[in-house]
Symmetry: D2
Subunit: 114 residues, 4 copies
């Protein structure tokens, strides 16, 4: 649907799978535990902002935690053979319906409160 | 470092920024709140696996929640001008040192317990 | 509403506040960051179950992480002067309406899917 | 260790167990899924603060989400027969060693960065 190929993302996913398989870790990577891993890594990212404002957060650690989240996202997406570009573009389209510009502009409200 | 260009990812990020800017939402997207958003979306993914095994989870919803997580990850990465391919490949390299194959193979332990 | 006094919980909350005030930490404990802290501690608890089944989790660590979550829950509840017993009993009552026994019995579905 | 009895908390836990058993939900409440539930509820609390400052958050919803977190915390603690007062007081004692007043006063740093 997108005209976007996913060569880059496929290469990243391949590198992650190779890392995993060299360690024989596929046995642990069922989708439920991958979802746990994403949530845990997202929380480690969040901790970098705890008790402080954004400007005080450690950027090199943000870099690493974002990479960890992405790694598990790509591995979970691969389980279901999702095309990353497709799923993001589909979601943008869907959100455009939930958040029409004229209602959502300048508002931080959820779609069900617009 | 990677020989991987990030054209695809840049196109996705551009689409996300356009969606955001049409709604004048950049004002809300400080890095701390983007980190909250990633964690909240990761938790919505997790909820799809609550009280059930992985095979019973709703794949079309997993697709959407993964897209939401990715969207905020790409937007936060953009704040710091991180190259997605670079940060993931760097992290793989770093993890290869924390988890050497001979010690980590077949084990689900954390690096500090190997 | 409950006939339950909260003396125990008040004593715990007082001990937590004393610990906090001796370190001059009230300045960091705004409600938003306390909510981050609860979520981060909940994720540390979750990590104890990652890649394994429940029986393999470390009980002494579960003990500590549950304590951390509770500590921040009590401190946040105190900000709003919530009575712990009251809010839990109110929620049980509300959930009893969302999950009537005849519909919910033996089902793990959310109330909006019953 | 505490001189604190936990009658109140026991009554709350009993009420939660009764609610659960009337719906035959104990079958879903293994410790791993209870940990997921705590994390998911903590994230719903967090969402009340997303894109806004603490003063703009909806207090009646904070009340409900805190109750949900507490409910699952009490149910998971019951699985291991933890005494809530004991585990919190033990953790305060342990944290007092990790965060000695003279080093930690006025600082938001983690114990390993003090």
């Amino acid at each position: 649907m997108s005209g976007i190929t996913s060569n880059d993302i496929e290469k990243l996913t391949n590198a992650l799978q190779q890392f995993r398989d060299e360690r024989d870790w596929a046995q642990f990577h069922n989708p439920k535990d991958l979802a746990l891993a994403i949530s845990i890594e997202a929380s480690e990212l969040l901790e970098l902002f705890l008790w402080k404002d954004a400007a005080s957060a450690d950027i090199s650690k943000i870099r690493e935690e974002l990479a960890d989240i992405l790694a598990y996202v790509l591995l979970l997406a691969k389980v279901y053979d999702f095309n990353i570009a497709d799923i993001v573009l589909e979601k943008i389209k869907k959100n455009a319906e939930k958040y029409p510009i004229d209602k959502a502009k300048g508002s931080s409200r959820k779609y069900n409160e617009l």
